[in-house]
């Protein structure tokens, strides 16, 4: 009896397996895996959704941070790495980075905070600890809490290189994702943070920098200085699979422009 039961279960399992691979269109089962920057979540979300609608190929996204994404491509754990910082020289030996969009790094504060505008110098001074009270930049008399990202974050890299504060920042918290930063700033009236403009919602207030409000025009013209590119990272040693190459081409095509805009980032000029 037992053996018969086992055989039946086995047969059922086999049938299910074949059933799954048998039906559906030709492309099901094929996926393109991406891994990396948490800032690129909305951009990749829009792109992969449109791509899946168009071709039926699924694009997976693993939000781990730029440094992890670059590492993942090197270790062959994903097809395309996502990075919100340019590759370092030693990484360029083995990897290719292609910019698909530009994104402003929004300097965000709690909505209760009256501060509307800061200069790049002021921001740098706040993050290096020279300014530690909101009063000095036109706010209330309360201490400033600097929220930042982990050391391998592309956003942190972009922010620190624009403000000239690399390795000098005194953080109160180092968080591991864009969403964490926004959540923390939204819940603490003393906090200041930085996050991808594409991801910032209504829960926090974006301050203008040097009197320039971040927007598509100001980012493209370079007036808004706190910005960086979004990169697709691929390995030089191995070729992309056919579907990954297709997705890659789709991301840099004109078709992607509107989607990138919808996601809150700025497409590159082609």
């Amino acid at each position: 009896m037992k053996i018969i039961k086992k055989a039946m279960i086995g047969a059922a399992a086999m049938a299910m397996l074949f059933g799954i691979s048998g039906c559906g269109d030709n492309n099901s089962g094929q996926t393109v895996s991406t891994d990396g920057s948490t800032s690129m979540e909305s951009v990749i979300g829009f792109l992969s959704e449109a791509y899946q609608e168009k071709t039926g190929i699924k694009v997976t996204y693993n939000p781990t941070g730029s440094g992890s994404g670059i590492q993942a491509v090197q270790e062959n754990r994903c097809d395309i790495g996502l990075s919100s910082r340019d590759l370092k020289d030693e990484e360029k030996e083995k990897l290719n980075g292609t910019v698909i969009a530009y994104d402003g790094i929004a300097v965000i504060v709690n909505p209760e905070n009256p501060v509307e505008d800061m200069s790049v110098e002021q921001i740098a001074q706040i993050y290096t600890g020279e300014i530690d009270n909101w009063q000095e930049v036109g706010g209330e008399d309360s201490p400033i809490v600097c929220i930042g990202r982990e050391a391998a974050s592309g956003t942190r890299d972009g922010f620190e290189s624009v403000t000239g504060t690399a390795d000098k920042c005194k953080y109160a918290q180092e968080l591991t994702s864009t969403g964490d930063v926004i959540q923390t700033v939204a819940s603490n009236p003393n906090a200041i943070g930085y996050a991808s403009l594409a991801s910032v919602g209504d829960s926090v207030k974006t301050v203008s920098v040097n009197s320039v409000t971040p927007s598509e025009e100001t980012i493209l013209s370079g007036d808004y200085s706190v910005q960086r590119g979004f990169f697709l990272v691929t390995s030089k040693d191995r070729n992309l699979s056919e579907q990954a190459q297709n997705f890659y081409d789709f991301c840099i095509s004109n078709e992607a422009d509107d989607l990138i805009r919808k996601a809150g980032a700025v497409p590159i000029e082609k």
């Binding site: 982990e150 391998a152 109160a172 918290q173």
Partner: protein, 260 residues
């Protein structure tokens, strides 16, 4: 297997950095041009955090166990024990999330701090997390105390409270000690929940300062580390492993003594 793996992968970095520097240096700056790998801040944070959690969690846990075994009736006891068991089953991320959204802002407001993500919040979260194991182990120990002890005490004219704290608890001493050691083990090994409430900056520990634990250092940096930094994280794991082995050893000794 794990032991061999950890030792093999943990030793090279310690050799390269130097054991004393690795353990005693107070700065951890792994990603700059001239990196420094000192894990003293992590070790101290983990020890302080664990100690704090024990200080808060153990008395509460023991009193809770006393209440459940000696005072509460069957119905209340049943409900509360069920709740305690449920607490043990809650994933640590959930504790972290609750800590992040409830405890961190509350700590900030109560103590008038600029930021609530600090060692103190982590201690509170850890204390809550060790409660279930402390309660259930001490409960078992208290239940194992022979009824005759208590009856004799009561017959000699001691009140119920006196009986509980002067007879039952001392009789269950080694079991309760085991509960404490188990709590220490749980607290020192916890990563996810404390990562979400402690601020995660590699400072020397201050009660109201942002800190990073041994566990969170490994968890948050492993994904992007490379080279010596990566190896150093394995060494941190090795240090943590040694801590936990020491705790287990203590637990074994305590249990053996109980058997005698």
């Amino acid at each position: 297997m794990i032991t061999i793996f950890l030792i093999i992968s943990g030793i090279p970095a310690i050799k390269e950095i130097g054991l004393t520097e690795f353990l005693l240096e107070t700065e951890w700056i792994p990603t700059t041009g001239s990196p420094k790998f000192g894990i003293m801040p992590f070790i101290l944070t983990s020890l302080y955090g664990t100690f704090g959690a024990i200080l808060l969690g153990v008395p509460l846990g023991i009193l809770c166990a006393v209440f459940l075994t000696k005072i509460a009736g069957k119905r209340i006891g049943g409900v509360v024990s069920g709740a305690v068991d449920l607490m043990a089953g809650i994933p640590s991320v959930v504790y972290g999330l609750v800590g992040m959204i409830v405890i961190v802002p509350t700590v900030r407001e109560i103590f008038g701090l600029p930021d609530g993500a600090n060692l103190f919040s982590a201690i509170i979260v850890l204390a809550v997390m060790i409660l279930p194991s402390v309660i259930s182990v001490s409960e078992t120990a208290l239940n194992a105390v022979p009824k005759e002890f208590e009856e004799a005490s009561l017959a000699l004219g001691a009140t119920k409270t006196e009986t509980i704290f002067k007879v039952s608890v001392p009789a269950a001493k080694s079991g309760i000690l085991a509960a404490v050691v188990l709590g220490v083990g749980r607290a020192i090994g916890e990563a996810m929940a404390v990562m979400m409430v402690s601020g995660n900056v590699a400072n020397m520990p201050k009660i109201f300062g942002s800190v990073r634990f041994l566990t969170t250092a490994v968890a948050s940096e492993m994904s992007y580390s490379s080279g010596l930094h990566n190896k150093a994280l394995f060494s941190i794991a090795l240090v943590l492993f040694i801590f936990i082995m020491a705790i287990n050893l203590m637990l074994n000794i305590v249990i053996k003594r109980e058997k005698k």
